[in-house]
């Protein structure tokens, strides 16, 4: 696949753009509102996205602004909803399908992986499937094993899908608007713990391009590559490390597919040490791919230390709060791993 890459840019909004403080959740709603105002083909479909306002309140009161025709409550039928999205996307609409918890993409996997992702290629290019799937992932809410998974790896493994994981409110808006523009099925994995976090968000019909990583911090000692909720943990860890004299570069790929491997390799070469941080279970999570890409590239020669992965334990997420917390990398784990990496190598 040809990956469009450009030079890295900071994750924060450009200084020139007008911004306003809003939550990640509001930023997503803002993006959908803007897209729906511009294009009558855009609509939202999902369980309880109407009057209820969405399981996590993301659609909020959109139904009052836009009406039930385009903010469409469904039965509890993830496979059917996803298929209806595919059919609508093939025939001139641009559906945004909300799945209440990304764990329930399991129900819809056939329509995601076997239909949406493959149709453009399999049908010889005659038709495309411009659809967005929004699904919250991640742990931290005490909802246990069937409501807390980080399943992005499943989707990254499927050719034909694009996969986005916004870590900031501005990216949540900018990436979603890019996803809605995109003529391909795009899986947007939001994080439950981020919904209520706030940030500066560019106003208006803005974009964050797909396939371009963010480098919210640059430092010479090691490169920390993190996704989703781990990005803010990595940045917090980087502050602590800095106080201890360790300067970390932090890379947030933002789009897992297409992946901006140029930025990854460039920053890895610059520091010679890599710490990969994901919330998903360790085995065959997204960072396995990042590791493989680094060690088959010319950055391999620049490595001063083995590539270190920090990941969720290979277990279903437990209910008990202490156990849940122990299951995924926390700030202190990142600090410890980074320190170890820099001091030992």
């Amino acid at each position: 696949m040809t990956i469009e890459t450009t030079a890295a840019q900071p994750a924060a909004a450009p200084a020139t753009a007008e911004t306003v403080t809003m939550t990640y959740s509001e930023a997503i709603r803002d993006a959908m509102r803007i897209a729906m105002a511009k294009d009558p083909a855009v609509f939202i479909m999902g369980e309880d996205v109407g009057t209820y306002g969405g399981a996590f309140g993301v659609t909020g009161e959109l139904i009052n602004e836009i009406g039930p025709d385009r903010i469409r409550d469904t039965t509890i039928s993830e496979l059917g909803i996803m298929g209806a999205g595919v059919g609508a996307a093939m025939t001139g609409m641009r559906p945004i399908v909300e799945i209440q918890f990304s764990d329930f993409t399991a129900q819809a996997m056939d329509q995601i992986a076997n239909q949406a992702a493959k149709i453009h290629f399999m049908l010889g290019g005659a038709v495309s499937v411009p659809m967005v799937i929004r699904a919250p992932g991640g742990s931290g809410t005490g909802a246990a094993a069937q409501h807390s998974q980080s399943l992005e790896a499943w989707f990254v493994h499927i050719p034909g899908l694009k996969v986005v994981m916004p870590a900031t409110a501005d990216d949540a808006k900018g990436l979603l608007l890019s996803a809605i523009d995109d003529p391909n099925p795009v899986m947007v994995i939001e994080h439950k713990l981020l919904y209520k976090t706030s940030g500066e968000v560019r106003t208006g019909d803005i974009r964050t391009p797909l396939g371009v990583a963010a480098v919210p911090r640059e430092g010479k000692d090691l490169t920390i590559i993190a996704t989703g909720v781990e990005v803010s943990r990595a940045l917090e860890a980087a502050e602590i490390l800095a106080a201890d004299g360790i300067e970390a570069t932090v890379v947030d790929p933002r789009t897992l597919k297409p992946l901006d491997s140029d930025t990854i390799l460039r920053t890895v070469k610059a520091t010679g040490r890599v710490l990969l941080v994901q919330e998903a279970v360790r085995t065959l999570g997204f960072m396995s791919e990042v590791s493989a890409i680094i060690s088959e590239s010319d950055a391999f020669g620049y490595l001063r230390a083995p590539i270190k992965r920090l990941a969720g334990l290979d277990i279903p997420i437990p209910y008990a709060p202490k156990l849940e917390r122990a299951s995924v990398p926390q700030v202190e784990d990142i600090v410890a791993a980074a320190t170890d990496l820099v001091r030992k190598w």
Partner: protein, 324 residues
Amino acid sequence: MNTQIVADRELAAASLATMWKIRRFEEAVEDLYGRGLMHGTMHLSIGQEAVPTGACLALNKDDYITSTHRGHGHCIAKGADMERMMAELLAKETGYCRGRGGSMHIADTETGNLGANGIVAGGIPIATGAALSAKMRGTKQVAVSFHGDGAMGEGAWHEGVVLAAMWQLPVVFLCENNLYGMSMSSEKAFNLDQLSDRAKGYGIPGVTVDGNDVQAVYDATKEAVDRARAGGGPTFIEAKTYRWRGHSKSDKNLYRTRDEIDEWRGKDPIPHFEALALAAGGLTQADIDAVRDNVRTELRSAVQRANAAPDATADDLLSAVYAR
């Protein structure tokens, strides 16, 4: 004709106790949660107590049930211990799941409860499988799959019923139609006068009953269970009821009216049952008071003991993933 529950002292007291246990257990959960002493999410079945109570009365201890996210009632009615349930919700090592499952995953295989389920309709094909197993092993056990109205939108519901109907398995699909799947009205969703019309599409018997009436639920379940045990295959039962509380804590109740909620609160299954039992002479007022008081005491001590138990341990997380 079946036993008149309200006229039989023992059955009436047991049924009333079950309903009170469910009610009190969930009130305690609500309270603990509200005071920040319990975390996660919770789905309360207050108002729906008559369904599991009536249904489980028709079951043997070794019969199976599969349950849902709104599963405390099923669990209690099938015979689980409130202390171990509460310990689970309090994330204790003594909980049914050692604090790893929480409310949405409590199971008690000792009493045939194969588990609540965080996945809507997830338990349907599992119940079909348990019934298949019972049939293959020749044990005459029956499986009851409790599920909500919303679950009937899922492919898992359909596939579980299709297989059960084809193999004529000893399973009862028991729909607690509390009028909503989260915010979706079952009337709007399914385009049917009554959900039991769905059974016609599978060539199995279907019936709709008053889910706030223990006897009605018992009668329907008993008939279905007897048929299943005799090799007559699956049955679908719709029990109409109502959840008084929101879907979960995040629910602002925007999709239904105060009036509707009040109307259904007026159909509270507990006083309804008490009145019938008094009238039928099965229970005296003193019996009724004693049942209520005993449950309160029992629950209070269950909460205390659960609270005092050790927290869930993280020691063996990695080695607990695979059975040996």
